[in-house]
């Protein structure tokens, strides 16, 4: 890179970097949503059990 003219062509690395950033944050958000959904299903089941017992 020492004797180059103009900026290096590193666009692919930039795309890879932002794919990792957006992908990881996106996956974490999906993970939180799925955990919420699973807990809400459990909650609904517990409500049903409580209703049957009452």
């Amino acid at each position: 890179m020492m004797f180059q003219e103009g900026p290096a062509d590193t666009l692919n690395y930039m795309i890879a970097g932002y794919t990792v950033i957006l992908g990881t944050i996106g996956l974490y958000i999906v993970n939180i949503i799925l955990r919420f959904r699973s807990l809400r299903q459990d909650e609904a089941l517990l409500d049903e059990i409580d209703a049957e017992r009452a």
């Binding site: 590193t10 690395y13 930039m14 970097g17 932002y18 974490y28 939180i32 517990l46």
Partner: protein, 233 residues
């Protein structure tokens, strides 16, 4: 079923809008760096992700101290939620650093003090999450988490200072670099705008995620309690 607080809905939409603006600033507003080219744009979110990691672990240490003083479970809830977010963002920080290093240092990885301390820090907090899961008693688990969170925090200033106290090739963009550093550059005014806006955006993302994650933790504990009651009835 608990409804999502209005303030959290507003904060989530606001954070999303601010994130889009930050993306515009780093990808289009900030000028292309003269030598490194487009890969330098990774720097803005790379540093911001590292900042969120450090902030999250600092919050964990602080609430750990408060838990030890007061013994209230809600502080432990914040600690575990914060560690989880910190691990996600520290992971982003390390991987994006590696992607930047490939064209600039000509390697994906080198045993540089900053890279090593950051990775050790990440492993310490992954271990925090794993070890907690092995403790059944909630009080013991919270006490362990609090002490671990405080002791583990030593790795955060060590990571931050590693490029300032050791000889390293990792550049210090804010505050001047070691002459042997590879990939250092001077920020222009527009780059500075993108940089500080990215830090602000990622702080906002941290607060928003923490709030959602706390609600998740609260719901999980409530359901666990109900399950135990249902089984004992």
């Amino acid at each position: 079923m608990e409804r999502i607080p209005k303030a959290l809905i507003v904060l989530t939409w606001l954070t999303s809008a601010v994130f889009v603006v930050a993306l515009y600033l780093v990808l289009f507003w900030a000028p292309q760096e003269a030598i490194m080219g487009d890969v330098q744009r990774v720097f803005y979110f790379h540093v911001a992700a590292g900042w969120v990691g450090g902030l999250a672990f600092l919050v964990t240490a602080i609430v750990g101290g408060i838990y030890l003083a007061r013994g209230e479970q809600r502080w432990d809830r914040i600690a575990v939620a914060s560690v989880e977010i910190g691990v996600v963002f520290t992971f982003i920080n390390i991987v994006t650093g590696s992607i930047w290093a490939r064209p600039i240092w000509n390697t994906w990885w080198t045993w540089d003090p900053r890279l090593v301390t950051a990775t050790i820090m990440l492993l310490i907090y992954i271990a925090y999450i794993m070890l907690r899961q092995g403790i059944e008693d909630p009080d013991r688990r919270a006490r362990f988490g609090a002490v671990y969170g405080i002791v583990g925090f030593i790795s955060v200033p060590l990571t931050f200072l590693s490029i300032r106290i050791f000889r390293t090739i990792h550049p210090i963009v804010v505050g001047g670099s070691d002459p042997t550093a590879l990939g250092a550059f001077n920020m222009t005014a527009d780059m500075r705008v993108a940089f500080f806006f990215s830090l602000f955006t990622f702080t906002l993302i941290y607060v928003t995620l923490l709030w959602h994650r706390l609600r998740l933790q609260h719901l999980a504990e409530k359901i666990e309690e109900r399950k135990l009651t249902a089984l004992s009835a």
